[in-house]
């Protein structure tokens, strides 16, 4: 195979196509932002998106670089075990559809904390919810920015860390511009454009791969097996990545749990439900999102095995971005440098759009929850909040750039899985309890949020992810701390979900039952009636 080692395709083509995307989306963002006046405009896009529009934007927000690059790469190298990621990511949407989306839209205004603190003691619960929002956004941001670094390595032929760091900074600055100029409305349009491009691009590649095998999935799988002599038939059955030992099997369950329960606790996904006018549109958004995301994951299954069959695991492993470069390498194999340029631009756009979505969520949470409600106790104008939100965008952008530079080279699907574990532990129990459990109170919420967040992060710090994981064959470190001499891990699993998620649910119950706080029956009545009927829900902004 004639693949140069340092780079693939023509970097000039890649940069040109990406620049075209940035200019086009920036024009859309500026156009969309002309009506940005109030806080509801900045945080929630005036609540005027339709269900299908928001559904596409949700898919754009959700189908991150981890989905596209990470899952395709995981399937290419680990076969069936990579497939589990996509199934968990998809089935998780049913939790959002059935239990969370509409009720949240009916009761909240801008953030997840609006709903969590609705009938409990405002300030402590809001503070806790805001902290866990910022925590989840941070992990997720790291994953995306790390992905940007890997992609750059592959596509622009920039192999030294300093050069990659510059590109990560450029990605961060473009993203900050989108959010500052466009607010939620501009960000949403970036998501929509990106989702359409991503699904089209992946769809074309999928058809192309299938066409090479006469649309016979079985022969594609056979070709993937033939090209992977090291693992052979194991590529088609579970266990390649997680089947080795009892511990790794437990890790697989932990991951499965975090994936399925994480989505409905992701603050940047929850915030998207406020961009539509009512709960019916929120429902339509999720339904659209499920179809788009599901179809996209079916594409990645073909792309992953296609990369194994047409590019081969050895070439993928040797490429600068390793597993994450499977999809771009496949694009190059199929359509040469033009298709590679398009697909890489789409992948870049993906990172950009997801990072923008995370940033606006984190800034809304800081400005609306911490500044507006906790510090100023609600005595601040919407404009004042938005000003703080804009400053926060700059700070978060800077944090994302610095964090991305440090996380450069980490596996992104896996970093995202950690974000899901934190979201499932810290957020989901309190969301469900406050919507469905009458007796639930402030102490239950605080114990559950802080307990879930704290235990998830604590276990990650002492897991093999951070220190002490060594590749048995090469002796190279597989942990975040690459010095193999440092090993303070004692928690055996990579993913903390199996401990931290049940713990957070239990803490919510124990905290509630040990507290003497009386249920605010009027507030609970208001919350329950509003959540189910939509009475008194925030209306769309009329322009």
């Amino acid at each position: 195979m004639l693949l140069p080692q340092a780079t693939v395709g023509d970097p000039k083509v890649n940069i040109a196509i990406f620049a075209l995307f940035v200019v086009a989306t920036l024009a859309i963002v500026i156009r969309a932002s002309r009506n940005n006046k109030s806080a509801a405009d900045f945080y929630a896009g005036g609540r005027s998106f339709t269900g299908p529009q928001n559904g596409i934007a949700i898919a754009g927000d959700y189908l991150s670089a981890a989905s596209f690059l990470g899952i395709a790469g995981a399937i290419a190298l680990n076969g069936y075990d990579g497939f589990l990621y996509s199934i968990g990511f998809l089935v998780a949407w049913l939790v959002a559809l059935l239990l969370v989306a509409e009720l949240l839209r009916n009761t909240g205004r801008f953030t997840m904390a609006d709903v969590l603190s609705f009938r409990l003691k405002q300030r402590p619960v809001r503070m806790a919810a805001a902290i866990s929002t910022l925590g989840v956004c941070f992990f997720y941001l790291l994953a995306q920015m790390a992905g940007a670094g890997g992609l750059v390595a592959l596509l622009l032929g920039i192999s030294d860390r300093a050069g990659q760091s510059v590109v990560i900074a450029v990605v961060g600055i473009i993203m900050i511009t989108y959010v500052l100029v466009g607010g939620m409305k501009g960000t949403t349009w970036v998501q929509i454009v990106k989702a359409v491009l991503l699904v089209l691009g992946a769809g074309i590649m999928t058809l192309w791969v299938l066409a090479k095998y006469a649309f016979n999935l079985s022969s594609l799988l056979g070709a993937a097996v033939d090209k992977s002599p090291a693992v052979g038939e194991k590529l088609l059955s579970p266990g390649l990545q997680y089947g080795a030992t009892g511990i790794s099997k437990l890790d697989f369950i932990s991951l499965g749990l975090a994936l399925v329960l994480g989505t409905a606790g992701l603050p940047h996904v929850l915030m998207r439900f406020y961009t539509v006018p009512n709960s019916r549109e929120a429902r339509r958004s999720v339904s659209w999102a499920i179809w788009i995301i599901g179809i996209f994951y079916l594409f990645t299954l073909v792309l992953g095995y296609g990369a194994a069959a047409l590019v081969g695991p050895d070439v993928i492993r040797a490429a600068p971005g390793k597993a994450n470069s499977a999809a771009p390498l496949l694009a190059y194999e199929l359509g040469g440098e033009i298709l590679l340029g398009v697909i890489s631009a789409v992948a870049f756009a993906t990172i950009l759009a997801v990072v923008a979505g995370l940033t606006i969520t984190a800034s809304a949470s800081f400005a609306h929850d911490i500044y507006g409600q906790v510090i100023k106790k609600g005595q601040v104008s919407g404009d004042g909040e938005v000003r703080v939100a804009r400053i926060t965008v700059l700070v978060i952008g800077a944090v994302a750039i610095v964090g991305g530079i440090f996380a450069n080279g980490q596996n992104i699907a896996f970093l995202v899985a950690l974000a899901f574990a934190v979201a499932a532990s810290a957020n989901l129990p309190t969301i469900l309890y406050s919507l469905f459990w009458r007796r639930f109170n402030t102490r239950g919420a605080l114990w559950s949020i802080y307990g879930g967040l704290g235990s998830a992060i604590f276990l990650i710090v002492f897991s093999p992810v951070v220190s002490g994981k060594v590749d048995k064959k090469t002796g190279a470190s597989l942990s975040m701390i690459t010095d193999t001499g440092i090993d303070f891990s004692w928690f055996p699993l990579d993913n903390p979900g199996i401990v931290s998620i049940p713990l957070a649910f239990v803490l919510g119950i124990v905290g509630t039952l040990t507290s003497k706080e009386q249920v605010d029956v009027d507030k609970f009545a208001e919350m329950e009636v509003r959540s189910l009927t939509g009475a008194g829900a925030e209306k769309a902004v009329a322009h």
């Binding site: 559809l97 799988l221 339904s287």
Partner: protein
């Protein structure tokens, strides 16, 4: 927000609405749909995860060509997710929304 609204004179506070038979019925129907459905897909999902984890031989069994049992189970998760989405959206649009709207109009006053 004020707790008194125009509209139905008997439903003056959210508390009154919450205790009304119409609302209880709405809540009961909502929960009777979403809770069992949630249980169903979670059980089905974890059956799949556990089979993949502890019965890889069974999942590796080839059904036709290179298509394995595991692949069919995995695709089955997609099918069930799409099916539940369709079912729920249809149920909510046709059966739930009209009653929810009826109550909402009573609460907000049928002025709009």
């Amino acid at each position: 927000m004020s707790d008194t609204r125009p509209g139905d004179p008997e439903l003056t506070t959210y508390r009154d609405v919450q205790l009304s038979p119409d609302f209880s019925e709405l809540r009961r129907r909502f929960r009777r749909f979403v809770f069992p459905m949630t249980g169903l897909f979670l059980v089905w999902y974890f059956v799949y995860v556990l089979l993949a984890d502890y019965a890889p031989k069974f999942m590796a069994h080839k059904v036709a060509g290179n298509i394995t049992v595991g692949l069919l189970f995995g695709l089955g998760q997609f099918v069930s997710t799409f099916a539940i989405t369709l079912l729920y959206v249809r149920w909510a649009d046709k059966k739930f929304d009209p009653d929810a709207k009826h109550l909402r109009d009573q609460i907000e006053g049928e002025t709009k």
